[in-house]
């Protein structure tokens, strides 16, 4: 696997390089997927374009009400959560359940998105945050993450385009997010099902906005639109949560594979959506009482309870 390595100093240079090399090349940031694919002989690009040290893509910042995460921010940084505002617990909870510390220390958020795995853990979280991606290249553009990922390993990225940042509106008062993942073991696991939810409750306790995203149950991460609609305007009662969870389970299209059956995945969707909504509701309640963000339980314990 001989290849040439290129080290552009700017995003524009990286973009031009990919266009000039016309095909037989790959961007490398953390490399946790690409290096494995190359070691296994599944990919053998003639050129690698090292984007791991490009400037301006490694920070988490908040400008007014908009949060921006640079594409080179690692899962470990997201897990530690420095710079992430209140109401974004789901980011931390999802990040800390990816691989081991050794992988999280180098695997980047941009890479997790660009890889477009149907089981990606941060993608459902970014979907419920209604995040958009900043793509730079020949024609810069911003695209909602849900329009970027088309299917397994397929995105709408055009040649010469790089994901440079991920942006979303900071969750306001009365808002919370949550993330749950089920696997066959507690760590170092690809999600059998993952679920993220975001909820904004009004002063009257009714849902002003709800988003639910389901991973690993379709060719790409799905929004459970039917469940969201059923909850809109109503309080998060036990009955409403149960109904929404059932609607979510009905709308997904899981497959049976070596890790789980379709039937089991559907049961997991129902159970995890319930939990995700309950967690959001608890968090909103706690932050309303204490005025500070609620700290999440250890997700490992939650996973234990799910088995």
């Amino acid at each position: 696997m001989a290849f040439r390595i290129h080290r552009p100093e700017t995003v524009d240079e990286a973009s031009r390089l990919e266009l000039d090399l016309d095909g037989d090349c790959a961007f490398i940031a953390g490399g946790t997927d690409l290096v494995v694919q190359m070691s296994r002989g599944q990919r053998a690009p003639a050129h690698l374009i090292d984007i791991s040290r490009l400037p301006g893509m490694s920070a988490i910042s908040e400008d007014g009400s908009v949060v921006e995460i640079g594409a080179l921010v690692t899962h470990r940084e997201l897990e530690l959560g420095k710079g992430l505002p209140q109401g974004t617990d789901a980011i931390r909870d999802a990040a800390r359940q990816v691989g081991g510390v050794q992988v999280r220390s180098i695997a980047t958020l941009g890479g997790n998105i660009a890889n477009a795995s149907p089981a990606a853990d941060l993608v459902p979280v970014l979907m419920v945050l209604d995040a958009e991606l900043e793509l730079r290249g020949p024609h810069g553009r911003c695209v909602p993450i849900s329009d970027f990922i088309e299917g397994p390993r397929r995105t709408t990225r055009q040649p010469g385009e790089l994901i440079t940042a991920i942006r979303f509106r900071a969750p306001g008062n009365g808002s919370a997010t949550s993330f749950f993942k089920a696997g066959r073991r507690k760590a170092m696991e690809i999600a059998v099902v993952n679920v993220a939810a975001s909820v904004t409750l009004g002063a009257d306790g009714a849902c002003r906005s709800v988003r639910i995203a389901l991973g690993s149950v379709a060719p790409k991460t799905l929004r459970a639109i039917g469940a969201e609609k059923a909850l809109a305007g109503s309080p998060l009662s036990v009955a409403a949560i149960r109904e929404a969870a059932q609607l979510a389970a009905d709308c997904c299209a899981p497959i049976t594979d070596i890790r789980a059956s379709a039937e089991y995945r559907r049961l997991l969707v129902k159970s995890l959506v319930e939990r995700a909504l309950v967690r959001c509701s608890e968090q909103v309640e706690q932050s309303a009482m204490s005025g500070i963000s609620a700290s999440a339980d250890n997700p490992a314990d939650l996973l234990e309870r799910s088995h």
């Binding site: 290849f3 081991g100 992988v103």
Partner: protein
């Protein structure tokens, strides 16, 4: 075509000519002649190749050697409490029987060092969470966890990493 790459390994600055496709793990073991870092799965699942790169634990099989240009790398060979003295963590692994076949041990010791630097007072569940990326097929982990907790206790009594 080889490329010249310089990095600091266990405090010593070295320059090596390496093929671009060679992983940091293979660079350390082949060009660097440091075979303490073990090659288990070679795809980032087992943690046997854990080294500390610029302060963070990483799977050296997932890092290309050329990506370590300018980096500071710590491997098991650099861990000791003085000439011919085992490192505190190594000592505790011996005291508690935390190594059996020993293949995963260098990686777990490096992961432990990274953990204790960040958190010198971990709970048992924090230890287990931290070493989740290190697979041991012999011990069942109980004695490894004991060893890590014992090292943490000595750290709090004033010993150093």
């Amino acid at each position: 075509m080889k490329r010249l790459v310089s990095m600091t390994v266990n405090g010593e600055e070295i320059e090596l000519a390496i093929p671009p496709y060679r992983t940091l793990l293979d660079v350390l073991r082949n060009e660097g002649r440091l075979t303490g870092t073990k090659k288990g799965c070679d795809v980032g699942d087992c943690g046997a190749c854990t080294v500390i790169m610029d302060g963070s634990p990483v799977n050296s099989c997932l890092v290309l050697g050329i990506e370590a240009e300018g980096a500071t790398i710590e491997t098991i060979e650099g861990q000791h409490a003085g000439p011919d003295l085992p490192h505190l963590i190594q000592e505790k692994f011996m005291d508690h029987g935390g190594a059996q076949c020993g293949f995963c041990t260098p990686g777990i010791i490096m992961m432990t060092k990274a953990l204790l630097k960040e958190n010198p007072n971990p709970t048992e569940s924090e230890v287990r969470f931290a070493i989740a990326g290190n697979i041991c097929r012999c011990t069942g982990y109980a004695k490894i966890v004991d060893a890590v907790l014992a090292a943490a206790e000595d750290l709090r009594k004033g010993r150093t990493l």
